[in-house]
Symmetry: C2
Subunit: 442 residues, 2 copies
Amino acid sequence: MTLDRSHDAQRSSWVASAQADGTDFPIQNLPYGRFRRAGSQEPWRIGVAIGDQILDLAAARPAPGWPAELAPQLDALAGGDLAAVMAAPKATRVALRLALSDALAAGSTQQAALAHALVPQSAAEMTLPCPIGDYTDFYASIHHATTIGRMFRPDNPLLPNYRWVPIGYHGRASSINVSGTPIRRPLGQTKPAGSPPEAPPVFGPCQRLDYELELGAFVAQGNTQGEPVPLAQAEDRLAGMVLLNDWSARDIQAWEYQPLGPFLSKNFGSTISPWLVTMEALAPYRVPFVRAAGEPDPLPHLDSPANRETGAIDLTIEVWLQTAAMRERGEAAVRLSRGNFKESYWTLAQLLTHHASNGCNLATGDLLGTGTQSGPKPEEAGSLLELSMGGKTPVALPGGETRSFLADGDTLTLRAYAQKQGGPRIGFGDCSGTVLPSPKLG
Amino acid sequence: MTLDRSHDAQRSSWVASAQADGTDFPIQNLPYGRFRRAGSQEPWRIGVAIGDQILDLAAARPAPGWPAELAPQLDALAGGDLAAVMAAPKATRVALRLALSDALAAGSTQQAALAHALVPQSAAEMTLPCPIGDYTDFYASIHHATTIGRMFRPDNPLLPNYRWVPIGYHGRASSINVSGTPIRRPLGQTKPAGSPPEAPPVFGPCQRLDYELELGAFVAQGNTQGEPVPLAQAEDRLAGMVLLNDWSARDIQAWEYQPLGPFLSKNFGSTISPWLVTMEALAPYRVPFVRAAGEPDPLPHLDSPANRETGAIDLTIEVWLQTAAMRERGEAAVRLSRGNFKESYWTLAQLLTHHASNGCNLATGDLLGTGTQSGPKPEEAGSLLELSMGGKTPVALPGGETRSFLADGDTLTLRAYAQKQGGPRIGFGDCSGTVLPSPKLG
């Protein structure tokens, strides 16, 4: 897409905290979210994050100065319906972003009318940005797939289909939670290592609880069942992105996953960050989609000059951990890894086009997970399973603690941001969850 | 559950066609569905099938004589909301069934007031009985799993987890259609047999399109995330059943399914029958859940006396095929197979309890598929892949046609019914779909 004044790195906001060092939400970002007054039972409202504030779009709607042609979208947002805006044509979404940027820019004629429509983020609670219809999780990092494959199949780490098929599977929509929701350690069937083949499995608390560092992309406009989506149209059908923690029970997974894939090892809960960072906000950070030398070109329906030129996104992704002991000692979280989404073996557009290539109908609000995003270096791995080499090399933490897998009380936080040297930081906010003990047995 | 007068095989209805030979919808059935006048754009209404008619529950609501305590449920049904009734406690659902049975029984004082509330089924079009949140498909027939496993892994047909884990995976909710919706042959990636390992796959129309004979169970009441559902509560959380055709692209499946399971080979479309046959209607057909000698007992959380005594359902299931040539010659469909759901290796209650055992939250309107239900005999197989032995022994049809897999123009119909000698037939209605050619490439 063409960049416009909403992307100008020099643009500032009349909301002072939007200029704060390290803020995830400068005026160049403007992500959407659903919020209400913390602790209230009010209906959820749509807001735009700006600095440490939220522009409440219900309170903002009556202000004079909004472009008349955006009335349907502004009315939908004021009514709490983000999906209606996600489903709008790309040009409309671009125009809406520009209107919001102009309204919040320093010198805006709307400042006086909008000042009362700000709500401090610290006073708000968030929920999912929109209802999620179907949730699909992909496996788009070849580094993750290779490392995991090496553990399970040392002779044949990467299956022959990997380089051709954007491998994916359907996940559980109902158990996706917003950041801050605790995650309960699941019970499940496992087959303890070394137990004889004929021995029954055991049922009890997961012993190998893990996180997965993923991005999620929300579908903007869907397609009719039976009608594929050409790659050239795929980008415009993406609304924006969130962080996604695909919590995983590795011991349950190992026992259950053949032949139909992961199920109870994943669907006990997933966590996403609350702010929908729009594809428009990420436009300045698009970079060429480049595969390593020797990798094949995608099949023609998954390949295009535009996808090669700007299909990838330069997006730093991080994992942070704070254990219960660290929290008691007043210590901040430590970073477990840092990578970049541009290393993905498939672009978001390829994932969407592949998904619809058989005529599967996607809908506004569907969530596409990228799969664990691990980089080429071991320290860029997006899961503890990888960082600890399947538990063989526990990760050292402050105070003498170690982790092969997550312990009760651990708070795991994903972060992501796109940023150029000296420019604004297009941040995603935290995607965070604390592990609770498993339910009692029986 | 206790049987009541609604189950009395001698009970007859003032709707004459409910007594017709072979009807799926005698007064002992009373399944719910969503319908509207065919070709209209009216809102969908809830009805109960009776003979060849539908009792329109919006038109029936004002009639005098309904039990006052059922007003909330009758109002919900009149308003088109079946989910509200599904979510009601079991006792309420039982009482509602009894009220509907009494209203439609011969000699009912409500007959005169309800006669105008009947709509011929031939004048109605149907949609899904309720919105489907999440859809899960299981793999509950050991005969199907063994036959399929033998094709892919001759030395090791049944994986070690099969006898312990009710294997399942998440399917696509958005592409589930009601009976009568055509199914478009999907495009997809396949790796032709005999092509060298390093050769790219091809992208084109599926060459091995198949059906799968399944039952689907709708969830009545859901559970809170993190809180498993004990087996003793599972039956009451099931609302009812439908037929489910899990159309499958076998060539796409073979290439894509490792390591995360089937995806595009399944999610291009699934078909269900329109009438929700309630668990109450099926109560007289519950039979002991018996596994073959030598099979292990389920783990304790998946085992109970009640599940052993009445966990299974004696339900005949059939597959019928009419090719385009047969249709042109005016020939009726031929039966490809007949089996019985009581052969399932897992009961519906076990599937639900397993699903929630890790805390996964189920919700009203979720659909649980049983997986292909194949019986112990080869002719009881629930897919063409099995009947044709992977395409090696094509199935002979009238007029000299054969089928290893489905051809464009084929109409595939699933049927099911529970019936005792000389008693009423608790039928499911047709679950039908006709194969359309694939979209044009590129």
